[in-house]
Structure formats: structure tokens, C-alpha cells
Symmetry: C2
Subunit: 229 residues, 2 copies
DNA sequence: TTAATAAATATACAGTGTTTAGTTATAAGG
DNA sequence: CCTTATAACTAAACACTGTATATTTATTAA
């Protein structure tokens, strides 16, 4: 006396729910995500979704993890497409891939790095692995530059003492990296995020012929300021 | 046969609605803003608000303009607190004031620069004046540096041709400024926004004893990279 | 065949923004 | 002073939302 099959017409409902959610997000943005609209799409009732996700936030968390994974894949692919010796080339490549992914999936970018769902706060414990994997690509390249003695920083602000612990957690997921590498990665991330988030919000006009000249300028500023050679 | 007074107990309902809205935003964040909750606060019914704002988005727009004004005030005050001769000092001052304001009013910062209201898109025509006034403070200092021949840029990416027109609009509001000054202001803005937005979202740990060392580091990076002397 | 059970539905509740119709209060004109 | 025009407000309803509860359906194992 156990369980019946889950599927009638739809073989994998859990997956189908997420796919329908992505369709809605792509069309109307993350805030417009509605369980009832998803249910209508799949010709089921809204409470049926609760068999696969405890509540709407859990669905959103699941989507965020998927987005981080997609983002991380593109970061890894960009890094590994450049020879391991060419660290500056790798840094540039992941920088460009960062913007490219964000522009290809602006709604996903806002889902991850913005706060587009009203009362939602991402549960760090669940999201951390996929988040650290994606942002860890940058850290890994910076760390290798540091080990090669090619970091051009005389002094750098230290993380506040009581946050050192939380910072150490990153090391677990992102591979063994020095605090300095993590800190510099944060600055780089902030700079890149600054431009990309304003671009996506439509607050920055496109610079240059293909609209990415300002971004390239910043990527070069970063390498010139922080890296030797 | 004309019009009656608008107020019974509440002398200025329009203002009272906005104040109640700010209270809710400060407590629960912008996405939690609810016309019915505001109405409950003021002991009126929700549709009564429609006598003062055509819809919820109009109320939000009004709040955004108020926020920009408050932000602009703090920018102007910071700039004018430093002697006009000390342009680098002025640049540093408005940079610090930017972060200070954002940390004092994180909800307002997200209201302006994030996208915290589900379907809302700010109407540029209405918001532009107050937005340009506040961001124009940065532009004005950069422009004065340019006129003094103290901009350290060999080449800088140009704004895409078809956006030149929209860029010219900024000049109307932000005072007469060269396109180069506007462009450099954009980069500076993006860098500052990158850190501040991540800080406010809780994604950046505090650096240094008072948590602003990383920000100071970036402000100095900006002046060292773009300005002479 | 029967009993167990996962999965779906039906229904309901409390909340939202907004529309419509009707009411109230005020101020001016005759 | 009293009527009338009208701005401002309320009451009720509509179409939504997420979610809880109870019930039904369908499947599978005993």
C-alpha cells in the first residue's frame, strides 16, 4: 500500500512547474510570478503546486538555484576556454561572460542579484553552494594571480573581524583562497555589478558602437589597477 | 456652487498619505506598500486615496520624486560644505554623502535605484528633473575638473550615436556639461552604485573597522585614476 | 478485492488594486 | 435662507493573489 504515479498527462510536474515559471518570468519579469497563472498554464489547480513546493518562496529559491547554476556554467566555460597560463585573459573572459549572461537573461540577473520578489529573502544555506560556485570562478582566477605574485596591491582594507567567519565559509565552497583574493574579488564584482545592473535597469546609455565599450574600459581599468604585467 | 474643503480631521490628506506610505516603506520595505494599509492607518477607505493619486503607481512616483529630492539635498549640502577650489575634496565629499544617504535610507535607495515595486516603471518625464538635480551634483564637479584641465583620461568610450539625444537632455537639467564629463560621471556613478547596492542588499561584508574602508578605497581609486594632482 | 496513500481538486479565507454607484458635506448663487 | 452644484468620501463589488483545509480521485500493494 504505497504510492501512485505522479503524472497523468505531464510526466514530470515539478520540472514543468519550473519551466512554466521561467516562461512567465521571461515574459513579465520575476515580480509577476503567480502560482495561479502557472497552474492555469499547466491546466491544474493552484494548490496542486503545493505537492511539489511547500510555498511560493520555495519555488523561487529553486529558480534562483537554477539561475545560479546557469550563470556558474557560463563563468566556468568562459574561464576554461582560455589557457590556464593566460590569467589576465581568463579574468577578461569571465568579465565579458558576466555581462553577456546578464544581458541574455536580464530577468534571471535581477532574480539573483536584485530583490524583485516582494517579501522574499533567499535562504543563504540553500543558495550558497550554487552561488559560491558561480562567483567562485572569479575568486579562483584572482587567487591564482595572487599565488603567481601578480597582484598589484600595496594595502587593502580588511574584512571586519566579526565577519571573518562568514567570509571563511566562502573558502569552503570557492576553493582554498586567501582573504586578500576574496576581498579583491569583491571589489571587482562590485564594479562589474555596478555597470551591469544599471545597464539592465535601463539607467545607462550604451557606450561605443556595440554598446559594450564602457564595460571593456572598466575591465581594462580593473586589470591595470590590480594586476601586474 | 464650487468646491468644499478637502479636510475633516486631516488637514492635508495628500501629504498625510505620503507620510503614511513612508512609514510603511521604512518598516516593511517598498514592495509591502499597500493602499489599503495606508487607508487603514489614516482611518479612511482605500478608494478615497484615488482622489489624490490616480493610482498606486502615481503615489510611488510621487514618493520617488521626494526621495530624489532628499538625496539631491544631501548631495548639494555635501558639495557646498567644501570650498569650491578644492574640487577633489568636493568629489570625495559627495561620494561619502552618497553612501551615507543610502545607508540612512536603504529603502529609499532601493525605491529609486532598484525595482522593488512589482509592475512599476518610473515615468522618466516626471522623475527626470529631481533625478538629474541629484545626480547632476556629481556631473557639476567632474565638469569643473574638466574645465580646469584636471581630467586624466586619454581616451574614453563615446555614447552610442542614437542615444546622444537622450544624453543631451541631461545637460539641460544638470547644467551645461561636456559629454566627456557626463560619461565619466556615469562610470563613477556605476562604481559607487555597485558597492552601495551590494552593501544594502547584504551581499558585501563590512570592510575595515567602521565598515566603510572598502568604499574609501574605491573613492580614492576613482580620484587617482581619473583626476590629476 | 480491499485497504492504504499520494496527488489532485473544491472550497474558503484574507489580502491586494481598482471600478462603480451612491452618499455626504461644503460653498456659492439666487 | 435655501437650493444646487460638486468635490470628497463610503459601500460594495470585481478580479486577482497566496495559502489552508477538507474531500475526492487514482493508483498500487497486500
Amino acid at each position: 500500500m504505497v504510492r501512485p504515479t505522479l503524472a497523468k498527462q505531464i510526466p514530470n510536474l515539478q520540472q514543468a512547474i519550473k519551466e512554466a515559471a521561467w516562461r512567465h518570468i521571461a515574459r513579465a519579469g520575476a515580480p509577476a510570478l503567480s502560482l495561479r497563472a502557472i497552474a492555469r498554464d499547466l491546466k491544474i489547480t493552484a494548490p496542486a503546486i503545493y505537492n511539489y513546493f511547500p510555498d511560493r518562496d520555495a519555488l523561487v529559491t529553486s529558480l534562483i538555484i537554477e539561475a545560479y547554476t546557469s550563470f556558474g556554467d557560463s563563468q566556468l566555460a568562459a574561464r576554461d576556454a582560455v589557457p590556464a597560463q593566460d590569467l589576465i585573459g581568463r579574468l577578461t573572459a569571465i568579465g565579458l561572460a558576466y555581462r553577456e549572461w546578464a544581458h541574455r537573461f536580464p530577468q534571471r540577473y535581477q532574480l539573483i542579484f536584485g530583490t524583485p520578489i516582494p517579501g522574499y529573502q533567499a535562504p543563504m544555506m540553500e543558495v550558497m553552494p550554487s552561488a559560491a560556485r558561480s562567483l567562485g570562478v572569479l575568486v579562483s582566477v584572482v587567487e591564482q594571480l595572487r599565488r603567481a605574485g601578480r597582484l598589484k596591491v600595496r594595502s587593502f582594507p580588511k574584512v571586519k573581524a566579526e565577519f571573518q567567519a562568514g567570509f571563511e565559509m566562502w573558502k569552503k565552497y570557492g576553493g582554498e583562497a586567501d582573504i586578500l583574493s576574496l576581498s579583491i574579488s569583491m571589489v571587482i564584482w562590485a564594479r562589474v555589478h555596478g555597470i551591469v545592473s544599471l545597464e539592465i535597469a535601463g539607467s545607462l546609455p550604451p557606450f561605443g558602437a556595440s554598446g559594450d565599450d564602457l564595460y571593456l574600459y572598466e575591465i581594462n581599468s580593473i586589470t591595470r589597477q590590480f594586476m601586474k604585467e
